[in-house]
């Protein structure tokens, strides 16, 4: 079992967990991901690595409770654990000194962006970060991103915190103002990464995105995660997860992410129903 050593609620539906996994931590690099499974009946869920500590032998993951499995994961406490924890998977981010880079994180995507921004800065880049979320409640790690960046812009879609803007607005402004931006990292929901890529397109700046496809094994075995990049079918799990967002067939990716919407809804309703009846029978207040 892979034990949960620490747990933090970053937002009502966003949880951070520090997992004891010394062998995975030994090899983990920014940009990679793990696949976790909660219990015998559990599915294999890919999660990007938000942080790792080789000395302590831990991997930090951040999850957003959107479906049955992530809701169940969110209920795990310190001392509980995962039945499987496989990684580090995928290719690491290509960290070099590019000069000036933009690091853009949307919602839960701020988590995997953090180690990448740290590594880029350590490599000598001038790091300008933009983090955003729909609402201030969904925003986290402002402090950490601040420490990892030379400049930081914070925005929310509804203006409840920081600047009222989608992250694409400051991206466009920065690209218009400065001609020294040589690379962009943008991590977040697929729809956000799509529009960041479209924004960057006319400026001819490479924009690295981290794709969050549906996966099963995560080692190239099943092809569930496949998507066309530059006209070629690629496997996100082994060829990625990072690609140049300008080459990604976003509509295909977005469609493929919706394959199991019906099943996910069914599983979530069943789970919520079971949780409710459990609470009722034990007499505890929800």
């Amino acid at each position: 079992m892979y034990k949960i050593l620490a747990r933090e609620e970053l937002a009502p539906i966003t949880k951070l967990m520090v997992i004891e996994a010394p062998e995975v931590a030994r090899k983990a690099q920014p940009g990679q991901f793990v696949i976790v499974r909660i219990d015998e009946e559990g599915e294999r869920i890919p999660l990007t690595i938000a942080d790792f500590d080789r000395r302590a032998g831990t991997i930090t993951i951040i999850l957003q409770e959107v479906g049955k499995s992530t809701m169940q994961m969110g209920m795990l406490e310190v001392g509980d654990g995962f039945l499987s924890f496989t990684g580090p998977l995928g290719e690491p981010s290509k960290i070099e000194n590019y000069g000036t880079v933009l690091c853009v994180g949307g919602g839960v995507g701020i988590a995997p962006l953090f180690p990448i921004a740290c590594a880029l800065r350590e490599a000598g880049n001038y790091v300008i970060s933009i983090i955003g979320a729909r609402h201030k409640e969904l925003l986290f790690w402002e402090e950490k991103m601040h420490s990892a960046s030379d400049e930081l812009i914070v925005c929310t879609d509804d203006g409840s915190y920081g600047r009222k803007a989608l992250v694409t607005v400051p991206i466009r402004e920065l690209l218009e103002q400065r001609d020294d931006v040589s690379r962009i990292w943008a991590i977040g929901p697929a729809i956000m990464m799509k529009f960041c890529s479209l924004t960057a397109q006319p400026f001819h700046v490479p924009i690295i995105v981290s794709l969050n496809s549906i996966m099963v094994d995560g080692t190239g075995m099943c092809g569930a995660c496949r998507v066309e990049v530059g006209g070629r079918t690629r496997f996100v799990c082994v060829d990625g997860p990072e690609f140049d967002g300008r080459d990604v067939d976003w509509d295909q990716l977005l469609a493929r992410q919706r394959i199991y919407l019906g099943e996910e809804k069914l599983a979530r309703e069943k789970f919520e129903h079971e949780c409710c009846s459990k609470h009722k029978s034990s007499g505890s207040a929800v």
């Binding site: 294999r44 080692t219 092809g223 079918t233 469609a255 099943e263």
Partner: protein
């Protein structure tokens, strides 16, 4: 064989006893459940079948077996009612008999060369092997006494048929074996590929438990190439030798337009969801799979049959639960029936259950709707031309014969190739242009010092038993390499 009857007067005349048929679930019952199709022989039937064996002085059946099971001897012990002895003789050469008894293509191996088959039907060796192995599992398995520890450490990579066999043989010789598995469950294709109704997972668990009882240390969730590399295992991790048995796990697609529409699966994904992740029990199990009303499975091998039969069961379960139309599941294969690479038994099983066969047909394009879901397929009719490199007649498209068919799920089962992940930081390991590892056929030695390989990673997709045979030969050679002796018997 008058001589045989003379020396064993009790033995019945050859052919006097008919080959014992194994009871099976009826097609109209089994097509709607995932329980095992074949139910196994009774003791009475097994002993009757065992009496059919001629006990040849020079048994050809052994030469037909990739691991050279002592077939006549275990059958004799069975016919005499000495079950523990039958088990001992069977397991002397085969560590996983309950698996082999179910999935080996006996009709092209031991049973094909059975002397009885010249005039009558061959001895049902596979069924007897299964019977003896199941008898042992029901009794509780006694691991053999381990030999004194050699102090040598071997890393076996991949816990499929090749790796399990290699690990078991090396552990029996006293070596310290670590078996690395990338998935969360051991068994490889036995777990993710072959369905429950052909090979119950409890049988795989039991056989793996036996391998563990020999002292093999099983490391799950360990992706070699990522968590460790081959060079690390042989270097800082201090292993004296390594065996690569990671199979052929990379799916091949057809490279036709529309293959990325929702509802188009590789057979690997479809079967992994259904078998390893138990999607047929969704939502009790969390992993879903699309249940199609009109499913097309592309390919004609055992994997295609398994995919079609899984799709059929999923469809029937849903149709019975919801009172809808039964599913239509079709195998689409570009050659004719005689070229189908699947075992005849599996083709017949599929047909009995209601799988349709569209032969001499090849898909050329998959159509989707605006939401990105598959809705149809354009196929072209084929005819057979001159034999190709494989000796089979080459399928040639018939110009202008295209036609469209409606489908909502497509499973692509046209083959797999080795997964290159394991080759990260493994310099010196020569590979062919098909991505398979170059290894000596007899010993499994690769071009890299201290590294052996066997099974699908060397041959490309083949059978469970041929992988086991390769694992066994490699174990013997690794033992020779480590201690300079022939393998213990």
């Amino acid at each position: 064989m008058p001589e045989t009857t003379k020396t064993k007067p009790k033995r019945p005349k050859p052919g006097a006893i008919p080959r014992q048929e194994m009871p099976r679930q009826a097609p109209e019952v089994r097509r709607a459940n995932f329980n095992e199709v074949a139910l196994g022989l009774t003791m009475e039937m097994a002993q009757l079948e065992a009496q059919r064996c001629l006990q040849c002085k020079k048994p050809l059946c052994i030469t037909g077996c990739p691991v050279e099971v002592r077939i006549p001897e275990f059958i004799l012990a069975l016919s005499e009612g000495n079950m523990p002895e039958a088990v001992r003789l069977l397991k002397d050469k085969n560590n996983l008999p309950a698996i082999c008894g179910r999935v080996c293509p006996q009709e092209t191996q031991c049973e094909e060369v059975c002397v009885l088959s010249k005039k009558f039907e061959p001895v049902a060796i596979g069924r007897l092997e299964r019977f003896v192995a199941d008898w042992e599992l029901a009794q509780g398995v006694e691991p053999p006494e381990p030999l004194p520890a050699t102090g040598k450490r071997v890393a076996v990579i991949g816990a499929g048929p090749a790796g399990l066999t290699c690990a078991a043989d090396l552990a029996r010789c006293g070596h310290q074996v670590t078996l690395f598995e990338s998935l969360h469950a051991p068994g490889g294709v036995l777990m993710y590929g072959i369905p429950e109704f052909r090979l119950p997972k409890r049988t795989v668990h039991a056989e793996v438990d036996y391998v563990k009882s020999l002292g093999v240390d099983l490391q799950l969730d360990a992706v070699v190439g990522k968590l460790y590399t081959l060079n690390e295992l042989l270097g800082e991790r201090g292993y004296d030798a390594a065996f690569l048995g990671t199979g052929a796990g990379l799916p091949r697609f057809m490279r036709i337009p529309g293959e990325n529409y929702n509802g188009v699966y590789s057979a690997n994904e479809f079967l992994t969801r259904v078998n390893l992740m138990k999607a047929y029990l969704f939502p009790e199990y969390d992993t879903p799979v699309k249940v199609g009303k009109r499913v097309a499975v592309i390919g004609g091998g055992n994997v295609a049959m398994d995919s079609a039969r899984c799709a059929l069961r999923l469809g029937w379960q849903r149709s019975l639960a919801e009172g809808n139309e039964p599913p239509e599941v079709t195998i689409v294969y570009r050659r004719s029936r005689v070229e189908l690479p699947a075992r005849l038994e599996e083709v017949e099983n599929a047909e009995e259950e209601g799988v349709e066969f569209r032969l001499l047909t090849n898909p050329v394009e998959i159509y989707g709707n605006e939401q990105g879901w598959v809705r149809g397929m354009r196929c072209i009719r084929m005819e057979l031309g001159e034999p190709d490199d494989s000796g089979r007649r080459r399928p040639i498209p018939i110009e202008g014969s295209e036609f469209d068919t409606e489908v909502d799920v497509v499973v692509v089962a046209i083959g797999t190739s080795p997964n290159p992940l394991v080759f990260t930081d493994a310099g010196g390991l020569e590979r062919t242009r098909w991505g398979t590892v170059v290894a000596d056929q007899e010993t499994g030695r690769t071009t890299k010092q201290g590294v052996w390989a066997g099974g699908d990673i060397v041959t490309g997709a083949a059978t469970v038993i041929s992988a086991m045979g390769a694992g066994k030969r490699a174990a013997a050679d690794i033992h020779r390499y480590l201690v300079g002796e022939e393998i213990c018997e």
